[in-house]
Amino acid sequence: MKPAPFEYIAPTTVEEALGHLTEHGYDAKVLAGGQSLIPMMNFRLAQPAVLVDLNKLAELSFIRSDKDGELRIGAMTRHYQVEHDDLVAEHAPLIHEAMPKIATPQIRSRGTFGGSIAHADPAAELTAICVALDGRFRCLSERGERWVPAKEFFLGMFTSALEPDEILVEIAIPPRAPRTGWALEEAVRRAIDFALVGVSAVVTLDAQDRCERARLVFLSVGDGPVETVKATEMLVGKEITPDLIRAAAEAVTAELDPSADIHASVKYRLHLARVLARRALEKAFARAAAPGTQAA
């Protein structure tokens, strides 16, 4: 057998699950879709003493919008459900567009929206996207609940702000402002692989066609999602031209510090970052300017 022995608990309520986490602390690991944790256990890179399986918690599987127009996604909602959900497509087209790029159909059948976020893999699309969309995460423990902004959630490689007794239960995505465009651009070797570099862009135009807001958040170039704030500051308040987009895309490398691996050198990753940033900004601004992208 591949994984090391562990005690298996499959609670049927969130309260019960939280109780087990309080009791076992760092010895316990939460099992969501398992599409990252199980391989790590198969390799024995992870050897939790107690596995708390959330798959029986139907209450954590939902997609709805609240009265303020915020999109709410339950942490145990499977990727394929998000991928095929009309509310997500309308409310958060960036998420809708990203879903088919996440892993493979078989992994999307099982993998969960919240699991991908809680795992905090710097190569995971949803980490960068949630930052770009100003998402917030509802974290529960027996001590109470707290909402953590996506921007403050990812602390490092596979490290999030979640405490050992906490469960990420819900993701909130604020409503899209009018004249907002989006894009996700990636360089991927094969469909099945993580991106060598990826970037999500979210931009908003004002009534005078000037850039009101622009966000570029990268994946696979650091310990977590990396936002290039200075590069996008160049765009704010300006009328968008191809030259300006190019200049901003060139500037991203000053804020990035990727590492090399067998697939890509630092130099190549930085090159990809510039090219993908330009493409993402071009697409996002074109969408913001198009008449069909008024917010729902």
Partner: protein
């Protein structure tokens, strides 16, 4: 130490009751406990797709699930398709287009493609590519597998006898 647990799983319409350790992977459960060796195990890290089965109708990697998680659920494996004498149209199509050489990846491909074709046989090029992207084949170069899916779609859309 992990204590053994009782599970009841429906596989290919048959109900199985077993007592297993929680750390037993679903792929190993299917092969070693149920002796259904059609489900192959390649990488055991979720990359190759050889161990793909249908879990409550959805294609999943059985090496990335624990067998205890299948308690009360329904599974279909490649054994649920045709028999040697009476192949499923999808298996026929694989045979007719030479969509396999060593055959190790084949059951995974079949179980990934089956739910796609059961939903619709009207596949675009993009649909076809998407349907295959979660499975690796080291022999064929994929072209013949694509041909097989197209042929299977024709067979299945004409309500072809299997």
């Amino acid at each position: 130490m992990s204590k053994a647990m009782d599970v009841t799983v429906t596989v290919n319409g048959e109900v199985y009751q077993k007592t297993i350790e929680p750390r037993l992977l679903l792929s190993d459960f299917i092969r070693h406990e149920l002796n259904l060796s059609g489900t192959h195990v390649g990488c055991e890290q979720g990359v190759c797709g050889a161990c793909t089965i249908l879990f409550d109708g959805m294609p999943v990697r059985s090496c990335l699930m624990l067998a205890v998680q299948a308690d009360g659920h329904e599974i279909r494996t490649v054994e649920d398709l045709g028999t040697m004498e009476n192949l499923h149209p999808l298996q026929e199509a694989f045979q007719e287009t030479h969509a396999l050489q060593c055959g190790f990846c084949t059951s995974g491909f079949l179980m990934s493609i089956l739910p796609v074709l059961e939903e619709t046989t009207d596949l675009s090029e993009e649909d076809l590519k998407r349907a295959l992207e979660g499975n690796l084949c080291r022999c064929t170069g994929y072209q013949h597998i694509r041909d097989a899916v197209q042929l299977a779609a024709e067979k299945m859309s004409s309500g072809g006898e299997s």
